[in-house]
């Protein structure tokens, strides 16, 4: 099942650890917040993705099973 990385933007305070551990999928914008590749995580990066999720000091990064959820109102 496709897994995607998602960040909870309310919890995220821009530590930037995710971008260091997973530069293939996460970049930091000019304010230090993560821009995440919306495509499914390739299997080769799965372990690194889990490591990044565990390493986030704010626990803001998540790996979700569902498809891209619709934007909420």
């Amino acid at each position: 099942m496709a897994e995607r990385l998602r960040v909870n933007p309310i919890q995220c305070t821009g530590h930037g650890v995710c971008a260091e551990l997973l530069p293939e999928l996460v970049m930091l914008d000019e304010w230090g917040y993560p821009v995440i590749d919306p495509r499914p995580v390739p299997p080769a990066l799965d372990r690194d993705a889990r490591r990044a999720v565990a390493a986030c000091p704010a626990l803001a990064l998540k790996l979700t099973r569902s498809e891209q959820p619709a934007r909420s109102g």
């Binding site: 933007p9 919890q11 914008d29 230090g32 959820p69 909420s72 109102g73």
Partner: protein, 433 residues
Amino acid sequence: MTAVVNQTASGGAARQAAAGLPRLLPQAPEDLSAHLARYGPTPYRGQPNLLIADVEASGLTGRGGAAFPVHRKLAVVAAAGPRQGRKVVVANGAESEPASRKDELLLRLAPNLVLDGLQLAAEAVGATEAHLYLHYAPGPQILRALAERASRGLDWLGVTITQAPPRFLAGQEAAVVNRLGGGPALPTFQPPRVSERGLGGAPTLVQNAETLAHLALIARYGPRWFRAVGTSDEPGSMLTTIYRPDARAHVREAAIGTPLRTLLGEGADVQAWLIGGYHGTWVPMPAAAGITLDNASLRRFGAAAGAGVLAALPSGRCGLAEVARVTGYLAAESAGQCGPCLNGLPRIAAALAELAGPGHRRRTVADLQRWSGLVEGRGACNHPDGTVRFVRSALTTFEPEIRRHARGQCSATDRRPYLPLPDGLPTREEDWT
């Protein structure tokens, strides 16, 4: 603020009456007796699925801005959570879009329609709690309506009234649930959607007041009646709040698919239309003069009806000044919870203020485009997305004016502000409760 007048028919009155308009707004406030005389009692079904099927057949979509199919929301809430568990329904009358006046008017003139809809929706999903969420303190009409209904035993559930703070985001559904739970009216991260886990963890239906009024009528007259006006893909009517230079601001019910010319005028000295409010889209005139009030037509200009705010900007005003003012408001109304929105919107607003003045740095427009791309989709709600849509469409529509301003000129002759904005921006935590 100019008083908002109910304008249910003007010119084409015969056409409208034959087409079944007006449906929602009486000429004067109707108390319970008048309401019952006109509509009869609330047509409770006795079981949920019948009403949901009718709503699906009618094609009713939300009138709060998102235009989400109502039957689907009802079905999700009805099915979510444990059997016999708590379930909540909320009539959303927060009307946080400052330019919108339709819900306020509806709740003043026909509160019983909205309250009927709330009770019918409650029955349809099996709710255990009902709430009415209002922007302002409840007026005498609403209080009287609730008291009369209670004394006659018309309501399936008692209704709790909660006041929303005057914030742009206060009507966002997660913010509604947050506020009803005693917290500030701030959006929360979804998933889970409030229809699955909302107030106190219970599945919560948040439905716009106007949507509930339509639902109350569909329950009485059926889906075919509802579809008698509108288009086949987007049936029914909607309330619009109209701003045009040759009239006072007013609310008008219109069949979906009505040419915008009918509502906003022929546009002789109008430079642009704003469709869908402050998260909406600017379209240039006369290029867009042929659009009709249905999303299929509006989509071709990247627009959507939203909560029905329609504004015609006169040629003598400075479009950039209006956009800068509104974006400043939108930036100040950010919840400030998400890094991209918190950082991006103020910068976007400042750049627009620069464009609204004489001359601007060469990089300002490029910065605007970059920041717009950076904030889109990266907040917990769609505030940055809506703001970006407003801004991007403005950059396109007012591009000639941007070039004029760069040369130190401005085509405006009238410097008065045109689009309405409330006073008072939020600075403290209390401003969100």
